[in-house]
């Protein structure tokens, strides 16, 4: 059964970018039927000579994760077995560990973590602040309809500022005094005609953008004092804020907003498009048409790619910089139902997380389209939002009234530290 056994031996070069795991660059002849585990044993055996303990590696063959047997992978990619094959190995990203379960009174539709605080928005119209140790800090009522999105504006030792958006057509700007654990609504942002589905704060914390069911994208000031010039003549009621900028272009609900940089916004909408807005021009810079309604989109400043969750089971990778070639760079299959939330890692170039209606979170490497790196189980119902803003914690909220916190051991950072 030669064919099944993998057509004999394959010549491989083993390479890595992590220099402390480097092995001599000599070709090794290995069986074609090897899988990751065998390669791991082999590599660890090589490394043992250098005196380091066992580490798990993942292997990249031609920019894609090796998930099955090497021969199958090569055959699928139509690569000759005669060539010397370069296998890049990276230290395997350690599995996130479920750390906490934060119980809420209703569905948790928005989560955002920053430093040691976790901010959640709930369907019972309240905001909640938790510590990452799972301690409930504060419940903030104020909205009159379910919260749809939250985001931190700034956070320091004494004060935390955040914004929340709700189906009551408003976004609210809050200031939280950490010491006294008192929260104050700085202003109510009125202007949207329907529920505000998404909110995102600019990198510099000066502005935030909201996308709503009324198809509008609005940019607001996130300053404490609304520095709106006296353009509007009618006496403004205190605490009510009007948008600095309203951008019209989508035909349906804007479900995702994210700042790409200080002047650029990415929006995803139910009208099947992704749009990149230039705030200087106050117009659309790029538009990517897809064939499904987009529920969430995330842009990574590390690799400049956009990953989207849309009205099907797949995640798709887009590149907003080019219009040439196939628009969809990659498709990630693995979820069994609509994916509702997706977010890039802020530190790892290739990693992103997704939460879906199949009660699962998944951690993906964008080089591994066939299978996710890890399934983060725990939710008993639909996952509505997921966040990985804090690189150490993956936080997700779902319709099982819980927020799940998964601790990620940052592999290479830890290593750096140990070094």
């Amino acid at each position: 059964m030669e064919a099944e056994n993998g057509e004999g031996q394959v010549q491989v070069h083993l390479k890595t970018k992590q220099e402390h795991y480097a092995v001599p660059d000599v070709p090794y002849a290995i069986e074609g039927s090897v899988a990751t585990t065998e390669l791991n044993i082999f590599l660890n055996a090589l490394l043992q000579k250098q005196g380091s303990d066992g580490v798990d590696f993942d292997f990249l063959v031609f920019d894609e994760y090796l998930r099955g047997r090497l021969c199958d992978h090569l055959r699928e990619k139509a690569i000759s077995f005669e060539d010397a094959i370069e296998i890049e190995y990276v230290e395997r990203f350690p599995a996130p560990e479920p750390q906490d379960c934060l119980l809420h009174d209703d569905w948790v539709s928005a989560v955002k973590a920053r430093d040691k605080w976790i901010l959640t928005g709930c369907y019972d119209n309240t905001l909640n602040i938790w510590t990452n140790k799972g301690k409930h800090k504060l419940t903030i009522p104020g909205h009159t309809a379910p919260i749809k999105a939250v985001d931190w504006i700034s956070l320091n030792e004494n004060y935390g500022r955040f914004v929340s958006s709700s189906q009551d057509q408003t976004a609210m700007l809050w200031q939280w005094n950490i010491d006294s654990n008192a929260v104050e609504c700085i202003s109510v942002c009125k202007g949207h005609e329907r529920g505000v589905d998404s909110v995102s704060v600019s990198p510099d914390g000066q502005r935030f953008a909201t996308g709503s069911w009324d198809t509008m994208l609005k940019v607001w000031s996130a300053q404490l004092e609304d520095s709106v010039e006296g353009t509007s003549k009618r006496p403004r009621e205190s605490g009510v804020r009007t948008p600095k900028l309203t951008l019209q272009g989508h035909r349906e609900s804007i479900s995702a907003v994210q700042w790409m940089d200080g002047q650029t916004l990415l929006t995803g909408s139910w009208d099947h498009t992704l749009k990149v807005w230039d705030l200087n021009l106050e117009g659309i810079k790029t538009e990517i048409s897809t064939n499904k309604s987009i529920f969430d989109a995330s842009y990574s400043s590390l690799n400049k790619l956009i990953v989207t969750a849309s009205a099907d089971k797949n995640l798709r990778l887009y590149d907003a910089r080019t219009n040439q070639g196939s628009v969809v760079r990659n498709t990630y299959l693995g979820h069994n139902a609509w994916v509702q939330a997706v977010m890039w890692s802020t530190t790892e170039e290739f990693l992103f997380v997704s939460g879906a209606y199949d009660n699962q979170n998944k951690l993906w490497d964008c080089r591994s389209p066939k299978a996710p790196l890890y399934d983060l189980l725990g939710h008993g119902e639909k996952v509505l939002d997921i966040d990985w803003s804090n690189p150490k914690y993956i936080v997700s909220g779902g319709s099982d009234n819980t927020v799940r916190v998964f601790k990620t051991k940052k592999a290479n950072i830890e290593h750096m530290e140990t070094k």
């Binding site: 057509q169 329907r194 069911w213 009324d214 349906e252 099907d312």
Partner: protein, 811 residues
Amino acid sequence: MTKKQATKRKVKEVKPTNEQDSVSEKSEHEEDEDLLQAVKDPGEDSTDDEGIDQEYQTDSSEDLEFESDEEGNYVGVKENNEEESEEDDDDEEDEDEEEDSSEEAAESGDNEDATASEEKPSGSKALPAANKKESKKLIAQITPRDPSKPEYEDSDTSDEEDIRNTVGNIPMHWYDDYKHIGYDWDAKKIVKPPKGDQIDDFLRKIEDPNFWRTVKDPQTGQEVLLTDEDIALIKRVNSARIPNPEHDEYEPWIEWFTSEVEKMPIKNVPDHKRSFLPSVSEKKKVSRMVHALKMGWMKTTEEVEREKKQKRGPKFYMLWETDTSREHMRRIHDPVSAPKRDLPGHAESYNPPPEYLFDEKETKQWLKLKDEPHKRKLHFMPQKFKSLREVPAYSRYLRERFLRCLDLYLCPRAKRVKLNIDAEYLIPKLPSPRDLQPFPTVESLVYRGHTDLVRSVSVEPKGEYLVSGSDDKTVKIWEIATGRCIRTIETEDVVRCVAWCPNAKLSIIAVATGSRLLLINPKVGDKLIIKKTDDLLAEAPSQDVIENERIKTAVQWSTAEALEQEKGVRVVITHFKPIRQVTWHGRGDYLATVMPEGANRSALIHQLSKRRSQIPFSKSKGLIQCVLFHPVKPCFFVAVSELHSGGFSPHLYYITIIAILQTQHNIRIYDLVKQELIKKLLTNSKWISGMSIHPKGDNLLVSTYDKKMLWFDLDLSTKPYQTMRLHRNAVRSVAFHLRYPLFASGSDDQAVIVSHGMVYNDLLQNPLIVPLKKLQTHEKRDEFGVLDVNWHPIQPWIFSTGADCTIRLYT
């Protein structure tokens, strides 16, 4: 010139000579008559008569009896006389002819007879008187070479005239053995003259000085003495000269028509221009005829003949005619030639070799197969005959000919290749579903919360929320994207139908629960609109129109009580019978309800802005199952915008309502303004469950409880354009998508079938219908499956409600 003149002069000279001739002829004829007269006198005879004539004359002196005695065939003297008289007539004819012949070449006997009788009455009468003498004359006439009758003098007479013998042109030696030589006109034998022996001949040769000029008439056998003229004639013929000695061969030529071409025209008048131009009238005539030919009014003789022939009709025709003409055979592709019969073998012989004859066993077997003769080896029993003569007539002849004809008749003329058509090939080419994306393919969300079967579902026009009505007496409003139940509104009765107002400027849900129609403000979406709607529904417009009793007893409008107000109910319209269906007009001001038990008041139209109800039909045409408003058409908008009111936008007063009248199993389309029936669609189904109109308004989809879906093209026909039998059980509901060319149907077989239904703007192109996907995730409860289907107004998503208390979203 001189020559011509000479010839002319000759011709001129000829004429007088001819005249002279005729004159001389006449004189001669006179002489003849004289001679005839003279003949009567036996003593005198013409000088030219010689030998035989004289003999005859001498003979004739001894009376006719002598002749008859000789021949023994003569009947009687009288007859003879008659004969003679006739003969005489003939003679006279001859003479007449001779007279006329110069002028007329042809002559007819009757005429001559007439002339003869006229001219010679005296002669013919005189003749019978002198019998004896006439007999002599007869003889004289028998000898045509009577010198007194210059027969060939100037003209040749017909041979027929001279024929005395009627035997015709036969070899005369046939009569060698007989005494007579033929028969005369009276069928009497013409007796051969006595023939002398050689000595007599010799003696005559020696004695008769005229022997040399004596010839034998081959017809009569009489000897004829040639006259001098005859001899001269013969001589002239022998010497190849013109027989007529009087004929002047060298007459002067008279040039009547000159052969010379004159240089100058004889006429001074030039040819008329007309003579150079084609005739107009003729052209007209010809063109008229050509036109007639073209149009088939006139037929050419050929055609007429052909038609006649056809009319007579070929009653019989060659079965294998084409075989005989190669030209025809060529036209038949791969022709089959006529089957040939087997050649007869030894067994067919009348005298077959003994081994072919049946022995006893074979005979027995042959006879045994009497009932199935086709199984016999030979269809006959070989028989032996001594000779061909004894072979009887073949008894099976006719039958076998007939069978042969049948064979030929039924035999195929050409080899046909059986067409190998794949059944697949005949199915019309439908585009593959892959090309018709997007359409729902998978179940994405399940909305759980109801505790009894969910009857109805309706989607907010913006597509964010969903309302459902259930048998658990609740109405639930859901958030589509998350499946979250936003609100539950409890009602007092089973909710049969819910309908979200299609006007996005209003936030109203119409809920049919029991016999009450609730107008509920769902309080979701734009707050401004919610408030506006509340304001609008709060104030009851003053009723300026007094409603008639019929409506009053059927419907009561009322503002909801405080308890219900809290739930969101704003207006309650109480009907007198349970409501089965409620549907909105596209503008959101009118809504129609159906109460199947309401008899002639089963369909009602409510106007929200005026809080008024109407009963569109005064008479009950049947049990109304379902009503539908025609989608908005801007062209009707203009005509009736004066009837608007209050806070509502200008209304479309022109509404087309479509009502299904169940007992008659058809669909009626009414124009409500004109109050008339526009169209009646025939469904041929007993139970209609639901219908949906294409957003363009020209196509209607009807679902029936007998497992069918009917697609009506309203422009095309009153009969279904297509009948779809996609479901295995009663179809409960159908729905068109507002934007995508999609429609869906839900059935009791728990399946939702999504189909592509493309309506083209081109009126000539028929709608394209392609079933795309069967979505079967609902569970069965008590024979019920899917109860209602409804599309998302924007996305290609379908919602279905089922008896399993769930609403499912397929994307």
